[in-house]
Subunit: 347 residues, 4 copies
């Protein structure tokens, strides 16, 4: 039996940290060393993440007590990873940062979207974007990996084959998201009587994740991007209206996507002619690392118009799951290790 | 056309205050004078209560600017009504206080359940409990009326005929409630990702509303009372297991309840042998002032056991609606005035 | 006191029929004569529409027993109104048909979208499209009025001012809808374990209501139209990405919409810079006849891009409410008569 | 590596069958041989259970084509297992029947609760009740195992230590359940617009699972048992008001339950003084095999009154999970094998 790799998590009180905890605790090659939280130091993990009661007896550690480890996951608030990256890099040879600090390669783009100077621009070039489907080669043997934006990921995976084929002229992407995207801190808008049953325009325009879409898919097409909150805790679904340079038949779209994703362990093409679940749906993906992708070619074809539909769990494939999958790639392990939970039905 | 009665509301930012606003604005005999909120003074009502956008152009007033009026509704935090009751009584000849400050007649009982001395015990005897079904006579010409506890009300209306008949020996009442019972202030437990879809034991024992049940129904039976939060914003449903001194046939229960409530404008007996909606359900009552009551006699009858089931909207019949209904009684108006909205189906 | 107008409803078992019942029963100028349902004939209305228990003692009548009346509402399955229109027109001088049978003016367009010949094409020209905001003049003194498609209506009201201004070049409209749009008949996809919490692509392309949008707004712009079902019973919200021929400043959009809708009793412009409810949301509109409209101008303006957002209750403003409002216009009554319920908050 | 045990599932189209499929496909000692469904024969599993898309390429088989195997799970409609038990026992040396056919040991009790003669009473004595916490010894080396009722299980696990201690005098158990309890077939009551957000009295008295509670816990106490449907797909929570023969301090209850369940792999005692999740909650248990149990001793103690609270996933610990756990016991495997998924947070 091979030795286990020692993992620590900085910032384990939030939702991405909690999901990483779950994945690390059941991963065949990993052993959890420490998980920090300034606010919860000394408390048992199960008090905050009730699904982990009885699964581990570990307590939250003080951030100052963080020790050396083999892999360090950072789940900190925006800006904190960047400000302490020198310290963290001294503690672990491998860092996977789940925040948005190191996702963008260009400090100028970062400044434009986050309205502040990047705290550690010299580090931007050292990080690989942690989306194995599109950066697998770069991830192999990478030392520093960024997380991915959940909304960016559902859009990137939905569009990548079309974008890379050069066929895309214009995209209007409407993303529907659950409440866990907002994180673990409560506010007036997350108060249950206000948020329950809502269909609420969150960002009709100007969502920051567009910057990640542009970085990944390039500037070869026009992009409009809106985000609407719906009644759901986990999950994101994008309805992406794609206008193409030429007409594509359904069969051609199938082939393009099969070629791109046919061997991907966590991308499934979902398109049934009958049944209830004809297109991707986020609810069956809760807890799983799959991104399901489907589409419909506009029958009138007057517009060279295809609607791409993709769904994922924002906390797994859109965050902690892609991080673990990236680690699996970095370490040369089975890419599905620790990520095999398939979701539930019904749920 | 008769002159309108001038109403002001103290504390209009919360959920009961907002519901009172809705009811007052559409009441045929009332005119809204002022609505106060320290935090929101100067803001339009529709910013906080989006259903009232365009319905009124009134802005929240500073509490200090409260002027004289014909009827004053108080929707303040626990203890605040009692501490300022002298001031309020100088501004209006009629006060309806929706807090729990003046519901209990006995200062000792108040102290037991609220763990503090009552701030104005000399006022307790001046208030009438604002539940017209059980205190109609006392409400006629009353000057000071208390609100009612929402959970207390659904239990009181479910049990009153049995309790008054002397048949009750023991009751176990399990109340299921929505999130609006917790009020408009957000907290960790009301954060949508935590509260959505929850079935959460809120008060397995020791809920304060028991004191109101005892005051209304007396001490002639044993009472156990638990409250569980479920996925719902508005509404309360009680499942009350009643153990009787003697066996009662279904027909006898019917007769007892028909006699008690047959002429009540806002109590409906709901018990169908077929169909989807055989018993009371809170969701169709949202926004309405009805309390629906049904029951099932235990077919084995080994226990002299009847399950009473009652449902209402905690913000209407359990709060603002009963307050308006009490005002209608006080003023000698049609008791249904301003309270005719019947709820929606489906919803 | 003026004489009441006698109303009958054909097909009162479904959701639009039930909503019409509620609105008619509380309308100041209407008296309900009959409501028919073949399946439920002889049963009390409250058995099917539990919100109307105790409100009326009327029973469903056999369709054959339908008598003459002043206004006849038809809430039948697709095709049935058209097949029996001669008979119905013999019973009432005014007909408001809530189905899709008489919405389209052109028999060829009907055939294209409904894949069947229209059963009574000679009647198409006699009907006025029942959307008062856009057809008020035609509705005055009209005898035959069609209902409106709920998704069409939310899109039509969101876009009409822009479309009429000639500024629209392209629209991508993504509509989020609740489960009541599917009607009262259960099926595999409406089974609660499958439908609860779903974010389900219902019609990525090809939704029939597009035909109504084209008829109302013309062919001056490209239109893509997708419908996604979300967790909600009542309500529809459209996120409409509008690409304009020229850049429009926020102020210009405001002015255009204020001019178009400033005097409309049931259209509210909703756009707040702060607060929870900055854009229209369907949940506060449940039961109300309002259509709330907001927008965001894309700050980059690189695309001459405005996102219009509109919300309504599909069973009220999207069906029964617009029907009653149309009747109010036809009869010269106060246009808000019977439609003043403002919705609830929280809910 | 040991040889895998060959498993077949009869009746794999329903919700318990689907959940068994998920558990079997990821179980380290099992290999799925066949899964039958008359209606879906020839179709891929993933068409019906979308979470299993891409996980297996198996298709539903015709019931007639069922071959010999090592373990046979039966997930048939009520009565069908019993009518075909001779045939099934010829195909497999071990049978686990998830229906209610073989749960009760006494044909008379069966007849009383199911209003029909048992089709194979001679088989009743051969089956062991499949709840490892209470029948572990009998399950070791058992050949025939029954499933468990989900509501019965949450009540049995909540009460067993108290019942076995002889302290119980009377219990009133109110169970809150999700919609998946009703199975995969749609009906008028499961139609989403009717079922969504419901708090619906399902069985105020007379629920059949009481018979299982009596069989497991005996007749030493009075039992009242009501079931209420709430907005949730998976999950059951019981609020069990227990009246004791003597006063029990909180510490004594703790000790009793720790002694009973301290070594149980799938029972957790949940009782926190602070935090959001102070008592068991079903939502974090979705997909997991845990049963969480907590309690509150009535502070007044006037009634020797303890409220026991327990939660589980009705499809896992209340059905398929207990079946797999029973198999693990039968086969002498690690009892947690294939059942380690801990649930999600938030969800």
């Amino acid at each position: 039996m091979p030795e286990l790799t020692l993992v620590s998590i900085v910032g384990g009180a939030g939702y991405v940290g909690g999901e990483l905890l779950r994945l690390v605790l059941f991963h065949p090659h990993l052993r959890l060393s420490q998980v920090t939280s300034r606010r919860l130091a000394g408390k048992y993990i199960g008090m905050t993440h009730p699904n982990l009661r009885g699964v581990t007896a570990i307590q939250f550690a003080q951030p100052e007590d963080l020790a050396a480890c083999d892999v360090l996951f950072l789940c900190l608030d925006h800006g904190e990873s960047a400000r302490s990256i020198e310290r963290f890099s001294g503690l672990s040879p491998r860092i996977i940062d789940c925040s948005s600090d190191f996702r963008l390669r260009d400090a100028g783009v970062y400044e434009k979207w986050y309205q502040e100077e990047h705290p550690a621009p010299e580090w931007l070039g050292k990080f690989v974007y942690g989306l194995p489907e599109l950066y697998r080669e770069e991830l192999t043997n990478a030392a520093y990996v960024s997380g991915v934006g959940c909304n960016a990921t559902v859009v990137n995976l939905a569009l990548a084959p079309l974008a890379r084929s050069g066929m895309l002229k214009q995209v209007v992407a409407d993303v529907k998201v659950g409440s866990s995207e907002g994180g673990a801190k409560h506010n007036a808008g997350s108060h249950h009587p206000e948020r329950s049953g809502a269909v609420r325009s969150y960002k009709p325009t100007g969502h920051r994740h567009q910057a990640e879409v542009r970085q990944v898919l390039g500037n070869g097409f026009e992009l409009s991007f809106s985000v609407t909150s719906v009644e759901m805790v986990r999950g994101a679904l994008v309805t992406a209206h794609c206008f193409l340079k030429e007409v594509m038949e359904e069969r051609a779209v199938w082939e393009l996507y099969r070629e791109a994703y046919g061997k991907e362990p966590f991308v499934r093409l979902v398109k049934q002619r009958t049944g209830i679940h004809r297109y991707p749906e986020p609810k069956h993906l809760a807890g799983s690392n799959y991104c399901d992708i489907g589409f419909e070619v506009d029958a009138t074809r007057s517009l060279n118009h295809v609607v791409m539909i993709a769904a994922l769990d924002n906390l797994v494939k859109g965050a902690a799951g892609s991080a673990i999958q990236s680690l699996n790639v970095m370490m040369g392990w089975d890419e599905m290790a620790g990520l095999r939970f398939p979701g539930l039905h019904p749920v």
